[in-house]
């Protein structure tokens, strides 16, 4: 078995129907997954609309490495290591802003926003063998993007971003973006910064938990309004779907009800509907609105498109995770559509939302439970007997089945097994 650490056999730890608890708790495994998952795969770093103007930048992360995403004066986007080439200080300390150069606070080395070293203080201390062009901020080995979603890879080799995503994932990104009549989103509406003390891989894609983890909203609210509580039944129009390469979705496109929001402005404004139908055709427009533009999809390893937001998972330690949620504005829509999307998001998500904190709470209870190792296995067998291949080649199963978690952890295992 190809593992760097003797004794860790990933094909034993991840089996067809179960996963060993150490996958979520071991410091050694955590350090190895930073190398093999985060420093080798394509990792989402940000969206082009976060840096719309020349000089705009944003500091982001690939695993535990600080990265600056910049747009230079020629409108080119760069992913640069946030580390002075001299003695290693971070050259950019703000999360986002606009700057034509980055100046290291330590000894004043100065870089332009395309990364090139423009100035070294007291240059007479170096002779002609020192060539400034060799000491620009290090560019990430690879960068790729699809519809403004920018991915970076710390590995110079590997599959292309196109191959990594595949057509099925791209179609779902289209679903998320094409709700805008001009086909553009704006990731400039702020961010919910959530944290929890448990493993990053618990941010999965689970169709089984809703009735239980989110019982507080589904039951109470419905009962108060004299309605039948909404449930996430075992058999419904909703499906779990594996899109390949560890990318998975809770496919509820057919059951979203097509409303703009669960709060306030619930109906799509007429002029918006007309414009979307004009641009996309009646059939596609109806499909987009019915699905609410929500693929409810996880793109392995760190990106999810859920409801109206982009969700980015960042591992901090085996039992420490940050989850940033960026609600997305649609370009070319009446302002009330975007306001409704924001209110819809806040209701459920974020540190004070009525859903996210309960998810985080349960993740922490998972981590606590995994300290008890009498029987170390986690069972992911649900629905194993009823997976089917859909007409487009993706694999589907019932909404409550663990198809999604299985395919995520299989991808994790395959990456960990690669030499």
């Amino acid at each position: 078995m190809a593992t760097t650490k003797p004794g860790v056999d990933y094909s034993y730890l991840v089996q067809e129907d179960k996963v060993h608890g150490s996958v979520f708790t071991s410091q050694d495994i955590y350090e190895e997954e930073l190398e093999r998952i985060f420093k080798r795969m394509w990792v989402y770093v940000g969206h082009a609309s976060e840096i719309p103007q020349p000089g705009d930048y944003r500091v982001t992360w690939i695993g535990d490495e600080s990265v600056i995403m910049t747009r230079d004066e020629d409108d080119q986007i760069h992913l640069l290591a946030n580390r002075c080439r001299h003695r290693g200080s971070a050259v950019c300390q703000y999360e986002a802003g606009n700057a034509s150069y980055f100046r290291c606070p330590y000894h004043g080395w100065t870089y332009s926003n395309d990364g090139s070293l423009t100035g070294v203080s007291f240059p007479s201390g170096y002779d002609e063998r020192f060539r400034k062009e060799e000491y620009g901020l290090s560019k990430l080995p690879r960068m790729g993007s699809y519809r403004g979603f920018i991915f970076g890879s710390l590995s110079p080799t590997g599959v292309s971003l196109d191959e990594h995503l595949g057509d099925r994932v791209k179609e779902m990104i289209d679903l998320f973006v094409d709700l805008s009549p001009v086909g553009e989103i704006e990731v400039r509406a702020g961010v919910h910064k959530n944290g929890y003390h448990a493993n990053w891989k618990f941010v999965g894609m689970d169709g089984y938990h809703g009735n239980f983890v989110h019982q507080s909203i589904s039951l109470d609210r419905a009962a108060r309004q004299g309605q039948r509580p909404p449930t996430h039944p075992d058999r419904s129009l909703n499906l779990t779907r594996s899109l390949g390469n560890g990318h998975v979705m809770l496919d509820s496109r057919k059951s979203r009800g097509g409303r703009l929001s669960n709060r306030r402005v619930a109906e799509w404004p007429e002029d918006y509907v007309r414009e979307l139908e004009r641009v996309r055709g009646k059939e596609r427009a109806a499909e987009l609105m019915q699905a609410h533009g929500d693929p409810h999809m996880g793109i392995y390893p760190n990106l999810q498109l859920i409801d109206v937001h982009i969700r980015v998972t960042r591992p901090i330690g085996p039992a420490e995770t940050e989850v940033f949620m960026y609600p997305v504005l649609l370009k070319g829509v009446p302002p009330e559509v975007n306001a409704a999307r924001l209110r819809h998001h806040e209701w459920f998500y974020g540190p004070a939302g009525m859903g996210s904190p309960d998810d985080n709470e349960v993740f922490e209870r998972n981590q606590m439970g995994l300290t008890a190792n009498v029987d170390p296995w986690i069972i992911l067998a649900r629905g194993l007997h009823r997976e089917q291949t859909d007409t487009d080649g993706t694999i589907i199963s019932n909404h409550t089945d663990e198809l999604t978690q299985r395919h995520q952890i299989f991808r994790w295992r395959d990456e960990m097994l690669q030499g």
């Binding site: 400039r188 509406a189 702020g190 961010v191 919910h192 910064k193 959530n194 944290g195 929890y196 003390h197 983890v213 019982q215 507080s216 909203i217 039951l219 109470d220 609210r221 108060r224 709060r263 306030r264 940050e322 609600p327 504005l329 302002p335 975007n338 306001a339 924001l342 209110r343 998001h345 806040e346 209701w347 974020g350 540190p351 004070a352 009525m354 904190p357 309960d358 985080n360 709470e361 349960v362 922490e364």
Partner: protein, 157 residues
């Protein structure tokens, strides 16, 4: 037109007590009909039309929040937070129509599951006279850490 500042302080302290002790119904009864409960995210003056908030509740949304907390299955408040908060630096302004604008600082210690957190901020209350007391028309809470990672803000703030 003047206002009895002691009465305003008393109202603010009472509200703090209800929040500290998770007395949801009594706290909810302090609100006016047309309410706004607002905790900005990231920046203090973010425009709600274009920027996400941590909390931006009207009456139906706040009702959902209270009912959820009372329902007994809100895992993030099971067990409930234990809290005490200090209120200070109170400034009171009376408007021409008799409504009262109050600014105050708070420092809150919260403990849950063996983990102790501190939250601090400045709160802006818009109070409307109501009999011998007031109702809260709006409340905007500027958290010092509104741009930081927050694990759990499901108690009343």
């Amino acid at each position: 037109m003047g206002v009895d500042e002691k009465k305003v302080e008393h109202f603010i302290y009472t509200e703090a007590l209800y929040m500290d002790e998770n007395r949801y119904d009594e706290w909810f009864a302090l609100w006016a009909q047309d309410l706004l409960y607002w905790v900005p995210a990231n920046i203090d003056d973010a425009d709600p039309a274009t920027h996400v908030q941590i909390i931006y509740d009207d009456r139906p949304t706040l009702e959902d929040r209270i009912e959820r907390l009372k329902g007994g299955v809100a895992h993030a408040q099971d067990p409930k937070s234990r809290m005490r908060r200090l209120i200070s630096n109170i400034e009171v302004e009376v408007e021409a129509n008799g409504d009262v604008q109050v600014a105050s600082n708070f420092n809150l210690t919260e403990i849950r599951h063996g983990k102790q957190d501190t939250f601090a901020g400045r709160t802006f209350h818009h109070l409307r006279p109501d009999g011998d007391s007031f109702k809260m028309v709006s409340k905007k809470v500027l958290l010092v850490n509104n741009d930081e990672v927050i694990d759990n803000l499901t108690f009343l703030i």
